[in-house]
Symmetry: C2
């Protein structure tokens, strides 16, 4: 079925949408903001939802920040949010390791990632090495001969890491090939990472060297994986028929909603361009609704 | 057709092989040596070939060293070789850029790679940036806002780079997405890199983040690409029916021989294990001959 294009300024159409859904899941980058710049009207749209007593959950693949840390971003931009409303892919990974894998206390995780992942692992009481450890954040040559394999590493967890380097990749590769049964996890598989000046390689690009060297894909706990939605629902029950996912990416946000059996609204303030849903080479992933910007929810309401 | 397994110690069989081929192309890592350790008998096998007036060419995907530099490795291990006998994938990339692409003199290459690539580009008179430039060999945060796109970058060339980092990947990504027609080249696509203590991520893993972020594969100038064989033949004419490629990898060396229409001999001293050619999940890439080690050529000849 083709998507329903909402007409900016048509208040009735937007109110009908508001009446239909009680729980609104939001992607953040490209929906609420781009880098450090607020999307026009996004703040007011969220306020409108709160005034109408909607449940709001922010579902982000950003794994560089913990939920607590991520909340600072909301505060800085003046958007109301509580830590409990925020679900990050690093948190989902930590919950997956502790609750689904039930990693024994004497086992640990090797991290390619930043402090956000470490904080979420700490909160779940999971031991880890790598990550921000200065010993692994180096461009010095990696010596395999001098490397000691830690037999207790049972998971390699990979997220966006702007300090990714050959030492980290080499260590992770050793664990994944030499520790039997070592699990290859990724917080998310976003190919790119949007910031205010443009696009940079995303978390999926950071795990790509391991993917390529191993000839195997990681299990992802971020959107579009259903693991993420199960995690949201465990903390925050909702009726799927009255829930909508709002996002800017077809292959993460919109697919995430579809995989989870909830409705979907695409905004065009981020990655996806109109041609990708209407053009001759349109994507197979079709959102239920499309609007130019989240701000359209409030246009014409004074 | 199943491969012919040569029987170690069966002198007649090996002499028949020697009689059949005038030109012997060799992979190095995993065939002549592993890391810094010589493969037993490899040196003597090469001597035997020279005594029988065979042409010898070393065809390597190693792009961390220039041919001149790579010759030092032969010298160190006491193996006779001339620079002209050595063909590296960095050299093939430089020849491809200068002779096939005919890159205009006012255009340049952005390099993710080490000094070997830079030396070969210099030899061909090709301008480049990136590579070993200290400014790009950093784990400091990359600021896209402060980055100035050089409009003259028309090629991104990626090889094994043990100093690969987010700044280099981000810059390469900008050139490939923002400089129209910028060509994505890789010296080779080896998934792993063998050294004496084991396997590390290879050049293919280093270009994998760009592959993943772009959703597009690079053009490779290394084995198994025919570009490499064309380059060998331009410098060193041979009769394909009397030429054999000796290597340890099915998906690079053996495929390279097959793509180029020459014979192939697999040795088991490197990456490929016997099960991969005989097991229930045997590879589709079947070598013409298999022998345990290059040293088998001399076994029983005193």
């Amino acid at each position: 079925m083709p998507p329903t294009f909402l007409e900016k300024g048509n208040g009735n159409q937007y109110q009908a949408l508001l009446d239909k859904y009680d729980t609104w899941l939001f992607d953040c980058d490209g929906v609420l903001w781009n880098g450090d710049g607020l999307v026009e009207g996004a703040k007011e749209a969220l306020k409108l939802l709160r005034n109408q007593n909607k449940s709001i959950v922010f579902v982000t693949n950003n794994a560089t920040k913990s939920r607590k840390n991520y909340k600072n971003k909301f505060d800085k931009l003046g958007i109301d949010a509580t830590v409990d409303e925020i679900f990050g892919s690093a948190y989902a990974a930590a919950v997956y390791i502790s609750s689904v894998m039930r990693l024994p206390k004497d086992k640990k995780v090797y991290v390619i990632g930043m402090s956000g992942i470490e904080e979420e692992l700490n909160e779940e009481g999971i031991s880890f090495i790598g990550g921000t450890d200065p010993a692994d954040n180096t461009l010095e040559p990696f010596s395999l001969a001098e490397f000691t394999l830690d037999p207790s590493v049972a998971v390699v967890l990979c997220g966006l890491d702007t300090s990714v380097n050959y030492t980290k990749l080499s260590k992770a590769f050793q664990y994944l090939t030499r520790n039997e049964g070592c699990v290859f996890l990724a917080t998310n598989e976003d190919s790119t990472y949007p910031e205010s000046s443009g696009l940079l390689p995303g978390a999926g690009a950071v795990s790509a060297p391991l993917r390529f060297a191993l000839g195997k894909d990681p299990l992802s706990t971020g959107k579009p994986s259903k693991t993420m939605l199960d995690c949201v629902r465990a903390k925050h029950d909702f009726d799927p028929t009255r829930t909508i996912m709002v996002g800017d990416r077809l292959n993460t946000d919109i697919l995430f909603g579809q995989v989870g059996g909830i409705s979907t609204l695409l905004v065009l303030t981020g990655i996806t361009k109109l041609a990708e849903i209407t053009g001759p080479n349109a994507s197979d992933i079709v959102p239920e609704y499309v609007t130019e910007s989240l701000g359209d929810l409030v246009v014409g309401r004074g």
